[in-house]
């Protein structure tokens, strides 16, 4: 029963994608939307069914064997346990709400069929990724979501910049994927299998803890996770990925795909536990990403870019949790983040559409009366993002991460997390104030066109808003059974103190934001306007200059190399036959002058030569 439901949950979006993808423009916008939303909606129902019939134990079954080459027999199999069920619920549930919202968002768009085909294919690929029972199938889903991400970032392909953003996302994540592929090769060579269960079972037997091979394998897998989850240093694609439609940003670049790296590391927890050094690195990278991104989010003017950097920062928290071994907390935050970040993106989408595609903070403002639904969405999502104590889902998950970091003795990471919490408060308040308060700063903001559809516009926002509150935190099933037990789980000493500390950090951030943006607005503007403040602003706005750095160190030298290689001598040698052929052609073309006489003469000349030759040889012989 449960397996049938699981199968349905990912085959339905595939069917939707195939029908839409091969319709060749025969489907109208209504039918496209019905198929696109309907398939994901049914998948969500199937997932709910699977949840209800789930027995509590991990269950798996093999669909078929992919290829069979000696010992290498990768299977097409799915495995359902608590972890994959949580992921499935997020993907289909949040995915369905976003698809529904997209009907409102994308209305009147010419490429609606293409949009839903890509979206359905994405949901399918993502489900394959989380359900796969072996790493090869997981890799298929992994690449599939990358492809869909590429197709959807470049959805408005008529604008060249969007195409470039899609390229960038594809190439940067591909860099990480190469590492992941290498990691898979290493795992297969060393362990002889790619089955996730067997890998986790055999890894401790084959590799000693901290051995070089184990470290290398974990490091390579981490490389893939970094690319997909937009962590330092492979994070530069995510802000540019906001070129896609906002529902895409909500689904792919906030709720699901970018968290695939977190899922991968959590899934391969046994492997990472064998490599403590890499675990440490994961934590450091998480902390670094969350701080860098939080600073960058402070200085963005595009509301979607603020949210993009915020996403990066929140995934940094998840990596931090993974780094200290708190896989459970990481997945918990993954789930709540999916809720509140999807809500924030959809609310942002509502603002953008209502304000005639205006998404520049400096041209919005004063919208809170006119767009109450979006405002409520932003408030609920933002509160969860800054982890407002007790009433929001984000509080519980972030609190868990920070507590685990502290309890396991990683005080440096803990401090980074606290700083990040303050910064989160700052940029969130700045974002909400910038959009909804103050004076409207453009005609678009003065005359918004609020969304009125209760089903397509209000309902997704309302459900996600409810899930962003403490209700969302209640839904979390707890994954202690999936992950290895933590050795120091029992220590509860200082938890109360810690909670005061965390709450204090959040409140301090909010207070600081209120003071800066409300009371000292003018002073702040003046500071940012010139001198050190201006330089800092530029630094943050450009996200610490990673793009420029990569451009200088990688892209430009590479282009130079390519330019040099274009004129290499081997290529000249390769071109020689072509040159000869062209010369022969020029020579032979002259002989084809279209004159019958010439042809007859040449023919007779040849016959004469042969005949004369014959006469000569016969005369010589006789």
């Amino acid at each position: 029963m449960m397996m049938a439901a699981t199968l349905l949950s990912f085959l339905l979006p595939l069917a939707g994608a195939i029908v839409l993808g091969f319709s060749g423009g025969r489907l109208g916008p209504r039918a496209s939307a019905a198929i696109g939303v309907g398939s994901v909606g049914l998948a969500a129902l199937a997932t709910a069914w699977a949840l209800l019939t789930f027995s509590g134990d991990s269950q798996g079954f093999t669909l078929w064997t992919w290829v069979s080459v000696g010992e290498f027999q990768p299977t097409m199999g799915v495995v359902v346990d608590r972890l994959s069920l949580v992921m499935m619920s997020i993907i289909t549930g949040v995915g369905f709400l976003i698809h529904l919202f997209a009907v409102w968002y994308m209305v009147g768009d010419a490429g609606i069929t293409r949009f839903y085909a890509w979206m359905n294919l994405f949901v399918f690929s993502m489900l394959v990724l989380v359900l796969a029972d072996n790493l090869l199938l997981l890799f298929l889903g992994w690449e599939g979501v990358g492809l869909c991400s590429y197709g959807l970032i470049g959805y408005y392909y008529q604008n060249e910049a969007n195409g470039r953003a899609a390229f960038k996302a594809f190439i940067v994540t591909r860099t990480g994927d190469v590492f992941l592929a290498l990691g898979l090769f290493l795992i297969f060579v060393e362990l002889g299998t790619l089955d996730i269960g067997l890998v986790l079972e055999q890894a401790p037997r084959v590799w000693a803890e901290g051995s070089v091979t184990a470290n290398l394998a974990a490091l390579l897998v981490l490389g893939g996770a970094l690319g997909k989850s937009a962590q330092v240093p492979l994070h530069t694609w995510l802000p540019d990925a906001m070129a896609g439609p906002t529902p895409v940003s909500a689904l792919i670049h906030a709720a699901t795909m970018v968290t695939a790296g977190v899922y991968l590391i959590a899934r391969l927890n046994g492997l990472f536990l064998l490599a403590p050094d890499v675990m440490w690195l994961v934590g450091i990278i998480g902390a670094l990403s969350l701080l860098l991104a939080a600073f960058a989010a402070l200085a963005q003017t595009d509301i979607k870019r603020v949210l993009a950097y915020s996403t990066m920062s929140q995934i940094g928290y998840m990596f931090l949790a993974l780094g200290v071994g708190a896989f459970d907390a990481a997945i918990f935050h993954l789930m709540t983040h999916a809720f509140f970040k999807a809500l924030l993106f959809l609310s942002a989408g509502a603002v953008i559409i209502s304000c005639h595609h205006e998404q520049d903070l400096s041209r919005l403002g004063g919208l809170w009366r006119k767009l109450p639904v979006a405002y409520a969405g932003f408030l609920a999502g933002g509160a969860s993002l800054v982890a407002l104590p007790l009433v929001t889902a984000g509080f519980f998950s972030k609190d868990e991460i920070l507590w685990q970091a502290m309890a396991s003795g990683h005080y440096g990471l803990f401090a980074a997390g606290l700083t990040g919490a303050v910064l989160t408060g700052l940029y969130t308040v700045r974002l909400i104030l910038g959009i909804f308060h103050g004076q409207p700063r453009s005609d678009h903001a003065r005359h918004p066109r609020p969304g009125t559809s209760p089903l397509r516009h209000h309902l997704p926002l309302a459900i996600l808003a409810v899930l962003s509150t403490f209700v969302g935190a209640w839904l979390y099933p707890g994954l202690e059974v999936v992950f290895p037990p933590r050795p120091d789980d029992a220590t509860n000493a200082g938890h109360t103190l810690f909670q005061f500390l965390a709450t204090g950090a959040v409140l301090a951030g909010l207070a600081l934001a209120g003071w800066l943006f409300l009371a000292r607005r003018r002073w702040l503007d003046a500071k940012v306007g010139r001198g050190l403040g201006a330089r800092l602003w530029i630094l943050f706005n450009r996200a610490w200059g990673f793009d420029a750095l990569f451009d200088r160190t990688l892209v430009r030298p590479w282009q130079t190399l390519v330019r040099v290689l274009r004129f290499d001598f081997i290529n000249l040698g390769m071109n020689l036959p072509a040159v000869i052929a062209r010369l022969c052609n020029a020579g032979l073309v002259r002989s084809q002058d279209g004159q019958l006489r010439t042809y007859a003469k040449v023919m007779v000349f040849g016959a004469t030569v042969i005949l004369v030759g014959l006469v000569m040889t016969q005369g010589g012989g006789a």
């Binding site: 003469k601 007779v604 004469t608 005949l611 004369v612 014959l614 016969q618 005369g619």
Partner: protein, 174 residues
């Protein structure tokens, strides 16, 4: 008989020379007819009356009538007036030399063949040929039939007047 062979052979060669050097199409056709009849006489002289008769009936009779019809229909003018190329040796010297060399080579080859083979003018009657043709050589008759059928179809297809397409093609050939 020998006299007939050499005389009519000479006539054939002279008529052919007249054909390839003349300028008027009608004269050329008449030269060709003369040449063909002369060759028919050669056949008679060699003792092949059936071949000679066929030569006159089919070649001189049927095929040449076709040529005459076409020449009449197209109303062709003599080409010499607008074709001063005969004054340019570079134009005709090469081909003539080539043909001459070929002739010499062929003659040399024939001269090298076994000598003493003579034609005594014994008759090969139509009956002999008919027995050969419709006995062991029946396949040749069938091939000839198919060839003629193909030629008929081709000629009637190619030769038909197709104004609209002709116009379009003329436009397309720049």
């Amino acid at each position: 008989m020998e006299l007939g062979f050499y005389l009519s052979g000479l006539v054939a060669v002279l008529a052919t020379v007249g054909l390839i050097s003349g300028s008027s199409p009608v004269h050329a056709v008449v030269y060709l007819i003369v040449s063909l009849i002369a060759v028919a006489l050669v056949f008679f002289a060699l003792g092949a009356p059936f071949a000679g008769a066929l030569e006159i009936i089919v070649y001189a009779g049927a095929i040449m009538v076709l040529f005459v019809f076409v020449v009449m229909m197209l109303n062709l003018r003599p080409e010499a007036k607008r074709d001063p190329l005969w004054q340019r040796p570079g134009y005709w010297l090469g081909p003539s030399l080539l043909a001459l060399v070929l002739l010499v080579a062929l003659v040399a080859l024939i001269g090298d063949g076994q000598a003493g083979m003579t034609i005594d003018g014994e008759l090969i009657t139509a009956r002999d040929i008919g027995l050969t043709l419709f006995g062991p050589w029946l396949i040749v008759v069938e091939l000839a039939a198919i060839l003629l059928l193909a030629a008929l179809v081709t000629a009637s297809h190619v030769g038909r007047r197709n104004k609209p397409r002709g116009n379009r093609n003329r436009g397309g050939t720049r």
